[in-house]
């Protein structure tokens, strides 16, 4: 959905700072970044659930560490990278000793532990991402236990092993304990705390300091001279950094073309035009977002979809190259599993590349349907697809209206499936309706609350068969996708269940996967299995296009393009 796509772009910008020393540049100019996604909700980031809020705060507060385009660790507030104990249960974090809050008081391990124990894990705050810090201990959900060791060191102890927990730890950002204690226990007071809503406490923890935020207009931060990373090279080199909000993509593009803004994401149809503009550089970078066609494997979907061969047949009728060319204007790569190419765990899928030659063939697809009994062979040898009773097959495809890319994919799928004799009815519904009527499910006839995965017998309110969706895989911890593909996955709304897949996810999150070699092999096996099983038809990973004015220097295009944005400068 629109917000997820933007999450990727903004998180690219937000992850920042490089270790290598840079020659000092001249500080000048105001860098304006244009976006047509929605405005942020709050600067009190611990309460936020939207990506824009995290993006804004990211300019003033660094996390412990981040990654460059090749996933090398870039230390930020952490003095050394997080150390993991032999048994993978104890994580030791040492922070820099020169971090200060705005009032000059030092940032200590106490602030980090307080943020975890008394804010995130508290019951009065309802922290939105609590599950990141929870684990299952003999089927009871428990929080990890953070402890202060000394002023600049603290540990986080787990009872179960999760090799990918380290990525969560590296992302940790602190709240000032000396301010937060004033509002402890009172969610309303905490929500409306002036210090947190105006970021008055950020000290030297970020390249910029908060100036003003005019809702639906712009978010303005100014250069932070005491920035701990920028002291010797007097980074950052922009006087001010402004996030400018536009009502529609068209006006955002116009502003980039007119030179009023320094950066804007460019939609596929306009990339060629911007490439032709001399004073604008367009970088095409991979993203972690992928388009997919989900099959309703629950009881109110077409029962044929429950069979792997049928799903494979459908995938053989839908061309990934055609989709990328016609819908994404070429800005996409065929996808066969949910692991994006830039991810270190990506492995080349040799076989089971459905939707691409040679496994893109209408006749083969029809044969496979014939084998599974969903087609009849006529005298002249031609195969006619039909359901068990011989009636012509009619499937319902649903996606959210207002998202052009997904509507176009829907139209393309309808066209291609009709080529093999399957009639598709398109249903475009608003996102909120899609969530309530098609995604959420419950066991019919019971008083069960609507949820995204209420077990095998649960069904959605409205029947559907196919759904065009867009998910995002965290490149470093693809195992997070178990929320979609594992039987108990929180968002496994289409009811896919495969014990082998569950087992692999389990092992990736277990002790044996501490050894990265083993984990890579497990991921490889998982990718191959998923490509073969076709729980969903993985269509394509999308490429994003970032347009910069030519005079912005220091940009390194890649998956985490924004990691060194504090070193960018105007020529």
């Amino acid at each position: 959905m629109e917000k997820l796509k933007i999450l990727v772009l903004l998180s690219m910008i937000a992850i920042l700072i490089t270790g290598s020393c840079q020659v000092a540049q001249e500080t000048k100019g105001v860098y304006i970044s244009g976006t047509s996604a929605g405005d942020a909700e709050t600067l009190n980031w611990i309460l936020a659930a939207d990506s824009a809020s995290l993006g804004y705060v990211g300019h003033t507060l660094d996390s412990l560490a981040t990654y460059d385009n090749e996933w090398n660790i870039q230390l930020r507030c952490a003095a050394r990278d997080v150390e993991v104990s032999e048994d993978g249960l104890v994580y030791t974090v040492t922070i820099r000793d020169d971090l200060k809050w705005s009032d000059g008081s030092p940032v200590t391990a106490e602030d980090y532990v307080y943020t975890l124990k008394d804010l995130m894990f508290s019951d009065w705050l309802n922290y939105t991402y609590q599950s990141d810090w929870q684990e299952q201990v003999n089927d009871e959900t428990v929080f990890v236990t953070p402890e202060v060791v000394n002023k600049t060191t603290f540990t986080i102890t787990r009872q179960t092993v999760d090799p990918e927990f380290i990525y969560t730890v590296r992302n940790l950002t602190p709240y000032p304990k000396y301010i937060a204690t004033k509002y402890e226990g009172d969610i309303d007071a905490f929500t409306q705390a002036p210090e947190f809503n105006n970021l008055t406490y950020t000290g030297n923890l970020g390249p910029y300091k908060f100036v003003e935020w005019i809702r639906n207009d712009k978010f303005v931060v100014e250069r932070n001279p005491e920035y701990y990373l920028g002291k010797d090279i007097s980074a950052p080199y922009f006087e001010q950094y402004i996030v400018k909000l536009f009502g529609t993509p068209a006006t955002c593009h116009a502003a980039l073309e007119a030179g009023d803004i320094a950066y804007a994401g460019i939609d596929p149809p306009h990339v060629a035009k911007f490439k032709a503009i001399e004073r604008i550089n367009v970088y095409t970078v991979p993203t972690t977002g992928y388009l997919l066609l989900a099959y309703n494997l629950r009881d109110n979907g077409w029962e044929g979809l429950k069979q792997k061969e049928v799903r494979q047949a459908l995938s053989m009728a839908i061309s990934k190259e055609l989709l990328i060319e016609k819908v994404l204007f070429g800005f996409g790569e065929p996808a066969y599993s949910f692991i994006p190419k830039p991810s270190p765990w990506y492995v080349y899928i040799a076989t089971a590349k459905y939707g691409v030659e040679p496994l893109l063939d209408e006749e083969k697809a029809k044969e496979r349907l014939l084998e599974t009994g969903y087609a009849t062979q006529r005298a002249d040898g031609s195969i006619e697809v039909a359901d068990k009773e011989g009636k012509p097959l009619k499937l319902t495809l649903v996606t959210n209206s207002g998202n052009d890319i997904r509507e176009n994919v829907g139209h393309l799928v309808k066209e291609e499936l009709s080529a093999i004799g399957i009639e598709v009815e398109l249903k475009f519904v608003p996102w909120a309706t899609e969530l309530r009527k098609y995604l959420m499910n419950k066991v019919p006839g019971t008083e069960q609350e609507l949820g995204y995965n209420n077990g095998p017998r649960a069904v959605s309110e409205e029947p559907w068969d196919l759904m065009v969706m867009g998910f995002n895989t965290h490149p470093l911890s693809p195992s997070g996708q178990d929320v979609f593909y594992a039987t108990q996955g929180g968002l496994n709304f289409w009811g896919y269940s495969n014990s082998r897949v569950d087992e692999l996810f389990q092992r990736i999150k277990s002790e044996e996967a501490l050894d990265e070699g083993v984990r890579k092999q497990l991921y490889a096996e998982l990718s191959q299995l998923v490509a073969e099983e076709q729980p969903v038809n993985f269509l394509a990973f999308q490429l994003a296009n970032a347009g910069f004015q030519k005079n912005v220097k220091g940009i390194e295009p890649g998956i985490n393009m924004g990691y060194n944005y504090h070193l960018w400068y105007f020529e």
């Binding site: 068209a250 149809p269 060629a272 204007f329 209206s401 052009d404 139209h411 490429l543």
Partner: protein, 371 residues
């Protein structure tokens, strides 16, 4: 002379009964299908068709007899209105549009037929350079697309024929325009005239009710309700109709306020005419010129309101109204400009036609104007 009137009376009475009985049976039938529709899963009619049927029946039951009895009046007014050439032109265009909306789709391609091979085709005589990125080489493959006469207005980004979409769009936009305005004007006029005519407490009550209704910002309320109950054309029409009447009510009231003190109203009161009769046969015909001005102005306004709803993503997705085409076209104005231009021009001509017709009728109905 009077005895002829005498023997007509019983006949008229009988005919009236027959008409009433047919009318009641039809309404009963409709009620049953509605009940069936709600409880039986398979939808017999969608809500908008109900609206047509009800309006159709009302028109047959009350509209046609009214038109028949006042056919001489209509002939007279039409004779005066037709002197204004542009009004005739406007009416011709509107009739053409209605015809287009009704039978047009039979002659054109299927507006929903998607064909990605023919996407972004410009109108004949124009070309478009469209380039696709080749991942392997990192270069762009640009191909020139030239318009074909098969698609006189070109195609949109899904390869659908724009001419066909405009024609099917005409139906939607006209429906929204005519029905919503119809409901709004009828309500507005009735409340406005009654308030001004009765005056005193009644005027106060009605006007305060209008104030309450009017204080809801019209567009905010429309977006609000459509967002909550989901974008559906019938809902949009009804909501616009039920909330759009307040302006009309105030205008009609101010016009009737000055009319009320005129002699001919006093005279008919003196002759013992009932209030209802005075309102219907004396006051309303006199404000008809203002009603027409309001109607011709609000029809385009309503069509634009639907376009605005589509622009912010709340248009009925199952329907290709001009608003939806405009929204899609507006996003790529710099590349596929013709997608937005076609509905833009149609909207412009429709608005112009309604207003010229409105002018013609306004002057025709104005007793003092020397047409």
């Amino acid at each position: 002379m009077t005895n002829r009137l005498k023997n007509i009376k019983p006949i008229a009475q009988k005919v009236g009964d027959v008409k009433n009985s047919i009318f009641i049976t039809v309404i009963a039938l409709l009620g049953i299908t509605l009940l069936l529709d709600i409880f039986v899963v398979e939808k017999i009619f969608n809500p908008l068709t109900y609206l047509y049927i009800v309006l159709g029946i009302l028109f047959v039951r009350y509209g046609i007899p009214l038109l028949y009895t006042s056919r001489r009046l209509i002939q007279y007014y039409w004779q005066r209105a037709s002197r204004n050439k542009l009004a005739v032109g406007g009416l011709a265009f509107i009739l053409f549009l209605i015809l287009l909306a009704l039978i047009g789709p039979l002659f054109t391609a299927d507006p929903t037929a998607v064909n990605f091979e023919e996407k972004n085709l410009p109108p004949p005589g124009f070309t478009l350079e469209e380039s696709v990125y080749d991942l392997k080489t990192g270069q762009f493959i640009t191909n020139r697309i030239t318009g074909t006469t098969q698609h006189p207005l070109g195609t949109d980004d899904k390869g659908r024929d724009l001419l066909a979409m405009i024609i099917s769009g005409a139906r939607v936009s006209l429906q929204v325009g005519l029905f919503a305005t119809g409901i709004a004007i009828a309500l507005g006029t009735l409340i406005g005239v009654t308030a001004a005519y009765l005056g005193g407490k009644m005027d106060n009550v009605l006007m305060r009710f209008t104030d309450i209704m009017m204080t809801f910002p019209f567009f905010l309320l429309l977006v609000f309700i459509v967002f909550i109950f989901g974008p559906n054309l019938a809902l949009i029409v009804i909501v616009i109709g039920l909330t759009g009447w307040t302006g009309t009510a105030r205008l009609i009231r101010s016009e009737t306020l000055s009319l009320r003190t005129r002699e001919f109203i006093m005279a008919s009161k003196a002759l013992g005419a009932s209030d209802g009769r005075i309102i219907l046969s004396h006051l309303i015909p006199n404000v008809i010129s203002l009603i027409i001005v309001i109607a011709t102005l609000s029809i385009p306004g309503v069509i634009l309101a639907e376009a605005a709803l589509s622009f912010i993503g709340l248009g009925d997705p199952t329907v290709a109204s001009w608003g939806m085409i405009l929204k899609a076209g507006q996003q790529n104005l710099d590349t596929t400009w013709w997608v937005a231009v076609a509905p833009g021009i149609m909207l412009f001509l429709t608005v112009l036609a309604f207003n010229f017709l409105g002018d013609g009728l306004r002057d025709a109905f104005d007793p003092r104007s020397n047409v």
